[in-house]
C-alpha cells in the first residue's frame, strides 16, 4: 500500500491488481496461507525486539512472518513444475477463446505491448528466442579467441630470431607462499590463498592498465597453481569488474584486457563462456515461465488469464486499463524491452557468467584432497588438484616481463618487483607516485622523450611490452615423470610440524626476495638493457683491417660468438654501417641473445630507415611480442620501401594502420608475385600476429618451397607450429634448420622447448645443453634448462646449472 501511496501520491488508484487488497492473486494467496496483513502485523509486534545471541537459538520456520513471504512459496518452491504446468495448460487451453481475447487486446493496444504479448503466440516467443540464440552465437565466438590454443604451452616467440621473453627461474618452493587459511568456524584447512605477492602485483598491473586505458600487457606469471574454482573466480570477477573499470572503452578493449589477464594466468576464457550459455537460456525460459505462471496461481493458467482479462474488462469496460495494469506488473517496457535487454546483455556479458553450486563442491573436494594428502602417500593423488597445485609451485618457473617504467632486463624487472614489494608494502606510497604521473603510458612518454626524442617513444614503448608467455600445463605427462612421493612427503612433513603457516611462507618469500636480489645484481653487472647495445670488453678484432669481412666469414662458418666480436669491431669502427649492425643483430638472434639482437637492429634502423631486411626483422620481432601496432608499422614500411610493392601502399594509410588493411595489401603483393618468398614470409608473420597459425604455417611452407635452404625460415615454421600446439611437427622443422645450419643455437634451444612442451623433459635438457655448449651466454636457454631439470626431477643437477658448469652437464646429458 505504501508503495502505491508513494507512486500515486495517495490518490485512489483504480487499477486492479496493483495493491495487495484488490489483487486477486494476493487475496488468493492470503486465503490459502492464512496470513493477511493484519495478522502479520500482530505477529510482528510479538517478536522480541532484541535477538538472543546464543548460537543455539530457535528457528521459526513454520509460518511466514513477513508480508510478501507467501509469494516466494508460490514462486520458488516448484518454479519449473509451475512453468511447465503453465505451458501445458496453455496448450490445453481453449484456443479459440484465447485467440479471441488476444485479438481484442491486440487491436486496441499500443504497439509496444505486442512484444510482451507474445506469450499468447508461443511460436512468436520461440522465434524471438531463436533470434537471441542465433545472434548470440557469433558474439560468443568473437570473444573466445584462439588464446586457449596458447594457454597450455610455452609460447614460443622465437619466430625467427628476435624475441625477448625473459624467463627467470625461481628455486623450487621459494617463490610462492601458500597461505593455508582456516576459516574460523571451519576446521578443515582451505588452501584458497594463491601465491599472494605474485598475484597481487599482477592484478595490480591489471588495475593500473585501467587508468590510462593502455592495453594490458601482463607480466607473464609463474605457474600459480590456481585451482579451477580459483580460475573461475578470477574469470568471472575480473570480467564483471573490468566492465566497471573500462566503461569508457569499447567492449573489444575490455574483452582484450580480460583476455590478456586470463591468458597469462593460464585461464581458458572460452570454455566457460561456451558452456554456460544453455544455462542462460533455460534460466530465461524459467524466468519467463515463472513470471507468467505465478500470476495464475490456482487456475488453469491460460484460462485463468483469459478469465481475469474478462473480469477486468467487465469491471472497467476498457481494454486500455488492462494494458495499464499489465504494464504495472511487467514494467513499462515489458517483455519486448526485457528481451532486447536480455539479448544485449547476453551479447555483451555472456561470457561472464559462471560459478554455480557444483563449483563449491569442487572447491570442497580440493580441500579434502589437500587434507588427506597431508596424512597419506597413496599414489592415487596423482590426479588431485592439490598435487597439481604443489607441482606447479615446485616447478617455480617464472616468466617475467617489464611492463614497468624502466626499460628492463629480467633483472630490472626483478628490481621493479622488489621495489613494488618492499617499498610498496603499503601501496599508498607507490600509488601516490603512479597517480601523480597519471599512468604508465604517460610516464613512458616522458622518459623516452627525454632520452630519445618524442618520435621514438612510441616504438620503444611498444617494444618494451611483452606478451604473456604461457606456461605448459600438461599435468598428466608431467606427473608420470615426477617424484610425487617426495612432495607428498614434504608437504605432509611440513603440515605435521605445523610449519605450513605464515612462518614458512615468510621464509619462502624472503628467499625469493633474496633470489630476486641476486638476479638484479647479476643483471646490473652485465648491464644489459634493451635498446642499448653493450659491447664485449675484450675484443681481439678491434684494430682488424676489415672486421666486417671477417665477421661475415665467421658468420657464414657458423662461428656466431666469434662473428659477433668481429662485427662489434666493425660497428665500433663504422657506427653508420647499417649492414654491420644488421648482421650483428642476426648473429645475436641466432645465438639466442635477444637483448643484443634488438639493440643492434634498432641501431641498424636508425642508420638506414629503409633497409628492407631490417624492417622485416623488426616487424617480426614485434610480432614475437604480439605488438600488433608496432609490427604493422614495420611491415607496412617494408612494403612502402619495397621497390616492387611500394606502389601498393597508399601513403595516407600509414597514419592509422589496421591489421585487415595491411594483410590485404600483402595479399595483393602475393598475388602480384607469387614467387617472391619474402612476401609469403611477411604474410606468415602477419598471420602469426592474428594467431591464424594454420594460415601462417601454409604461408611459410609456400615460402619454403621457393627458398628451401633458408634455415631461419625453417625455424619460423617450427616456431609457428609449436605455437599452434604441433610440437612434434615443429621438431621436424627445427631439424631441417639444424641440418642446414648446425650451429644455429636458437634452433637447438627451440628444439628443447618443443620437447619440453611434449613433456619430454630429459630430451629437452639435452638440447638446451647443446645450445648452451655453443653459446654459454644464452641466458634464456639457461633458464629453460633449469625449468626442464626441475620438471624432470633432476634437482641434483641444479648446482651444475646454477654454476653454469657445462662440462658436468654435457657429460650427464650427451646428445
Amino acid at each position: 500500500m505504501a508503495m502505491r501511496d508513494l507512486v500515486t501520491g495517495g490518490a485512489a488508484c483504480a487499477v486492479p491488481g496493483s495493491s495487495s487488497s484488490s489483487n486477486p492473486v494476493a487475496a488468493l494467496a492470503s486465503a490459502l496461507i492464512g496470513s493477511s496483513s493484519k495478522t502479520t502485523q500482530e505477529r510482528l509486534k510479538e517478536l522480541p525486539t532484541s535477538i538472543p545471541t546464543s548460537s543455539d537459538r530457535q528457528y521459526y520456520p513454520e509460518a511466514p512472518t513477513l508480508p510478501g513471504s507467501e509469494f516466494d512459496q508460490e514462486h520458488y518452491l516448484q518454479p519449473s513444475a509451475q512453468g511447465s504446468d503453465f505451458l501445458h495448460g496453455f496448450r490445453a487451453a481453449d484456443r479459440g477463446q484465447f485467440a479471441d481475447v488476444w485479438d481484442e487486446i491486440h487491436h486496441g493496444q499500443p504497439p509496444h505491448l505486442q512484444g510482451r504479448a507474445s506469450q499468447s503466440h508461443l511460436p512468436k516467443f520461440e522465434h524471438a528466442f531463436h533470434q537471441v540464440n542465433s545472434q548470440l552465437q557469433p558474439t560468443l565466438d568473437g570473444i573466445t579467441p584462439d588464446d586457449h590454443k596458447l594457454s597450455p604451452r610455452f609460447f614460443v616467440k622465437d619466430l625467427t630470431w628476435l624475441s625477448n621473453h625473459l624467463f627467470v627461474v625461481v628455486p623450487s618452493f621459494l617463490s610462492l607462499g601458500i597461505e593455508v587459511h582456516y576459516e574460523s568456524t571451519n576446521p578443515s584447512p582451505s588452501v584458497t590463498g594463491p601465491p599472494q605477492r605474485v598475484l597481487s602485483n599482477f592484478l595490480h598491473s591489471f588495475l593500473d592498465s585501467s587508468r590510462g586505458g593502455i592495453p594490458f600487457h601482463p607480466a607473464p606469471l609463474p605457474g600459480l597453481g590456481l585451482s579451477e574454482v580459483d580460475k573461475q573466480c578470477i574469470r568471472d570477477r575480473t570480467s564483471i569488474m573490468a566492465r566497471h573499470m573500462f566503461a569508457d572503452k569499447s567492449d573489444e578493449f575490455t574483452n582484450a584486457q580480460v583476455d590478456a589477464l586470463l591468458c597469462s594466468l593460464d585461464i581458458d576464457n572460452s570454455v566457460q563462456a561456451k558452456g554456460h550459455i544453455p544455462g542462460r537460456f533455460s534460466e530465461l525460459e524459467d524466468y519467463w515461465n515463472e513470471s507468467q505462471g505465478s500470476r495464475q496461481a490456482g487456475h488453469l493458467p491460460a484460462n485463468g488469464w483469459v478469465t481475469e482479462f474478462d473480469q477486468h474488462r467487465a469491471q472497467q469496460g476498457d481494454p486500455e486499463l488492462w494494458a495499464l495494469s499489465f504494464e504495472r506488473q511487467h514494467g513499462v517496457n515489458g517483455w519486448a524491452s526485457e528481451f532486447e535487454r536480455e539479448q544485449s546483455q547476453m551479447a555483451q556479458l555472456g561470457q561472464t557468467r559462471g560459478a554455480n553450486i557444483s563449483d563449491f563442491a569442487a572447491m570442497e573436494q580440493t580441500r579434502m584432497l589437500a587434507h588427506t594428502l597431508a596424512q597419506n602417500n597413496d599414489p592415487k593423488f596423482q590426479n588431485s588438484k592439490f598435487l597439481q597445485f604443489v607441482s606447479k609451485m615446485s616447478r617455480g618457473e617464472l616468466i617475467i616481463d617489464d611492463n614497468q617504467v624502466k626499460p628492463s632486463t629480467s633483472g630490472d624487472w626483478a628490481a621493479e618487483y622488489q621495489h613494488e614489494y618492499n617499498g610498496g608494502l603499503s601501496w599508498a606510497d607507490e600509488f601516490g607516485h603512479t597517480k601523480a604521473s597519471a599512468n604508465l603510458a604517460l610516464r613512458w612518454e616522458f622518459n623516452h622523450s627525454l632520452s630519445h626524442g618524442p618520435d621514438r617513444w612510441v616504438n620503444e614503448f611498444s617494444a618494451e611490452h611483452k606478451q604473456p608467455n604461457l606456461v605448459e600445463d600438461q599435468w598428466v605427462d608431467e606427473f608420470s615423470k615426477l617424484h610425487i612421493q617426495d612432495w607428498a612427503d614434504e608437504f605432509g612433513h611440513q603440515v605435521g610440524e605445523g610449519a605450513f603457516g605464515n612462518e614458512s611462507t615468510d621464509n619462502w618469500a624472503s628467499a625469493y626476495d633474496e633470489y630476486l636480489n641476486e638476479q638484479m645484481a647479476t643483471k646490473q653487472q652485465s648491464g644489459g638493457s634493451r635498446g642499448v647495445y653493450v659491447f664485449s670488453e675484450m675484443n681481439p678484432y678491434v684494430g682488424h683491417p676489415n672486421p666486417l669481412k671477417e665477421g661475415q666469414e665467421l658468420f657464414r662458418k657458423g662461428l656466431l660468438s666469434e662473428a659477433v666480436l668481429a662485427l662489434e669491431a666493425e660497428v665500433i669502427k663504422n657506427p653508420d654501417n647499417a649492414e654491420g649492425w644488421r648482421l650483428l643483430g642476426i648473429a645475436h638472434a641466432e645465438n639466442d641473445d635477444d637483448q643484443q639482437a634488438i639493440a643492434s637492429m634498432m641501431k641498424a634502423q636508425e642508420v638506414d630507415p629503409t633497409n628492407l631486411e631490417v624492417l622485416l626483422a623488426l616487424g617480426v620481432s614485434h610480432t614475437n611480442e604480439l605488438e600488433q601496432a608496432a609490427a604493422l608499422k614495420y611491415l607496412y614500411s617494408w612494403l612502402l620501401h619495397h621497390p616492387k610493392y611500394g606502389t601498393l601502399a597508399p601513403r595516407e594509410l600509414s597514419e592509422s594502420l589496421h591489421y585487415a588493411d595491411v594483410a590485404r595489401l600483402f595479399d595483393q603483393a602475393a598475388q602480384m608475385s607469387p614467387e617472391d618468398a619474402d612476401v609469403h614470409i611477411v604474410l606468415g608473420v602477419l598471420y602469426n600476429l592474428s594467431r591464424e597459425y594454420d594460415k601462417a604455417i601454409s604461408s611459410f611452407q609456400t615460402a619454403l618451397k621457393l627458398r628451401p635452404n633458408d634455415y631461419s625460415l625453417w625455424n619460423k615454421l617450427g616456431a609457428t607450429q609449436a605455437n599452434s600446439i604441433q610440437s612434434a611437427d615443429a621438431i621436424l622443422a627445427y631439424q631441417q634448420a639444424l641440418d642446414l645450419k648446425p650451429n644455429y643455437v636458437r634452433a637447438w634451444a627451440n628444439m628443447g622447448i618443443s620437447y619440453a612442451n611434449q613433456g619430454m623433459y630429459e630430451e629437452s635438457v639435452r638440447y638446451y645443453v647443446r645450445a648452451l655448449a655453443m653459446n654459454p651466454k644464452a641466458d634464456n636457454a639457461w633458464q629453460y634448462l633449469r625449468i626442464s631439470l626441475s620438471c624432470a626431477s633432476r634437482n641434483d643437477m641444479f648446482e651444475a646449472c646454477d654454476s653454469r658448469n657445462l662440462d658436468v652437464l654435457q657429460k650427464e646429458f650427451p646428445l
Binding site: 507512486v7 576459516e183 584458497t192 505465478s294
Partner: protein, 316 residues
C-alpha cells in the same frame, strides 16, 4: 584524522547505528578477485589512533556488510562465495559466524538491514536475485528474481518497512514492495550498469542511483521519466552512493576515480567537496547517523579513513 590499515583491500565500511565510535569494515584479498576476506570491527578513539575491536576471517572476499538495526552486536557480511554470514560480536571468533546462509549461487554484493521493521535484511547478488532474510530463519523468506544481470545493491526505504530498491547491471533500478508479487516499478535509470542506490532519508519518494556511466542521478519515484538531478564529476564508474542521514540534499559517493565526493543535488553547482585521499579505487563510504558530518571511507589501497566533513581526511 585517524587512519586504519587493513591487510586486504577494503570493500565496504559502515558505522554502527548504536555506538558513535564503532565501525565495521569488509575487506577482500587481491581486490576481491581471489583469496580470503576479513571483517574488521574498529573503535574510534576521540584522541588517538583507531583501534581494532576484533576481526573475523572468511575463505572468500567480503564485498559488503550491514549492521543489525536491532542488536548492537550483530553484523551481517556479504561474502563473495555466495554465502551470507551473520556475526555476533559478543561471541569469540571461534563461535562465529553464528549463521552462514548459503542460497545465492554467486557473489553476494550487498547487504542492507531493514531500518524500520528491524527484523529482516536484504542481500543482492551476482546471481541476479535479491533475497529477503530474517535474522532467525535458516532460509531466505523470499527471492526477488526479475533483474536480468548482477544486482549490485539493494536498499530499504527509510520510511516504508516493506519497500526497497535494487540497482542492477541490467541498467534498471527496480522498486519493490515485499507485499507485492513482483516489482512495483522499473526505472531504466542509466544507459550503463547501475552499481549502487540509496533512498533519501527525508524524502521517501526520492532515490539516488550511481552508475558505471560516471553519473549519479536523483529520481522521484512518482515521476521517473526524467531524473530530478544528474550529478556529473566523477571520472570513472561511481561505485557507491549514500544519502546523508542529516541533510536532505546531501549525497556522498565514491568512485573508481579514487575520490570520495560530497554533493548537494539541490543547487546548480552540485559538487560540494572532493576528497582525494585514497590512492586506489575508493569503493566504500558511509556517513555516521550518530555524529553529524562524520564520514568513513575505504578503498583498494587498504586504508580506512574516518574524518569530519570539511576536514582533510589525511590530516594527522
Amino acid at each position: 584524522m585517524p587512519v586504519f590499515k587493513t591487510p586486504f583491500n577494503g570493500y565496504a565500511v559502515k558505522f554502527s547505528p548504536f555506538y558513535e565510535s564503532r565501525l565495521a569494515v569488509a575487506t577482500s584479498q587481491n581486490f576481491g578477485i581471489l583469496g580470503n576476506g576479513r571483517l574488521h570491527i574498529l573503535n574510534l578513539n576521540p584522541s588517538g589512533p583507531i583501534s581494532e575491536f576484533g576481526f573475523f576471517e572468511t575463505s572468500d572476499g567480503i564485498y559488503d556488510l550491514t549492521w543489525s538495526e536491532d542488536n548492537d552486536n550483530i553484523v551481517i557480511a556479504a561474502i563473495a562465495d555466495g554465502s551470507v554470514k551473520i556475526y555476533d560480536l559478543s561471541l569469540p571468533p571461534t563461535q562465529n559466524p553464528i549463521r552462514s546462509l548459503h542460497e545465492h549461487s554467486r557473489e553476494v554484493h550487498s547487504a542492507d538491514y531493514n531500518p524500520v521493521r528491524r527484523d529482516s535484511f536484504l542481500t543482492s547478488s551476482w546471481d541476479d536475485t535479491v533475497k529477503l532474510w530474517t535474522i532467525d530463519r535458516p532460509t531466505s523468506v523470499r527471492t526477488f528474481k526479475e533483474h536480468t544481470y548482477c544486482v549490485y545493491s539493494a536498499a530499504w526505504n527509510p520510511r516504508h518497512a516493506d519497500v526497497f530498491a535494487s540497482a542492477s547491471g541490467d541498467c534498471t533500478l527496480r522498486i519493490w514492495d515485499v507485499r507485492e508479487p513482483a516489482s512495483t516499478m522499473i526505472i531504466p535509470a542509466h544507459e550503463f550498469e547501475i552499481l549502487s542506490c540509496d533512498w533519501n532519508k527525508y524524502d521517501e519518494s526520492c532515490i539516488v542511483s550511481a552508475s558505471v556511466d560516471k553519473s549519479i542521478r536523483v529520481w522521484d519515484v512518482r515521476n521517473f521519466r526524467i531524473p530530478v538531478a544528474v550529478l556529473n564529476g566523477h571520472g570513472y564508474a561511481v561505485r557507491k552512493v549514500k544519502c546523508s542521514p542529516h541533510r536532505q540534499n546531501m549525497i556522498v559517493s565514491c568512485s573508481y576515480d579514487m575520490t570520495v565526493c560530497m554533493w548537494d543535488y539541490m543547487v546548480e553547482d552540485s559538487l560540494v567537496t572532493r576528497y582525494d585521499h585514497h590512492t586506489e579505487f575508493a569503493v566504500g563510504v558511509d556517513m555516521s547517523v550518530l555524529v553529524e558530518g562524520l564520514m568513513a571511507s575505504t578503498g583498494w589501497d587498504e586504508l580506512v579513513y574516518v574524518w569530519q566533513h570539511g576536514m582533510d581526511p589525511r590530516a594527522p
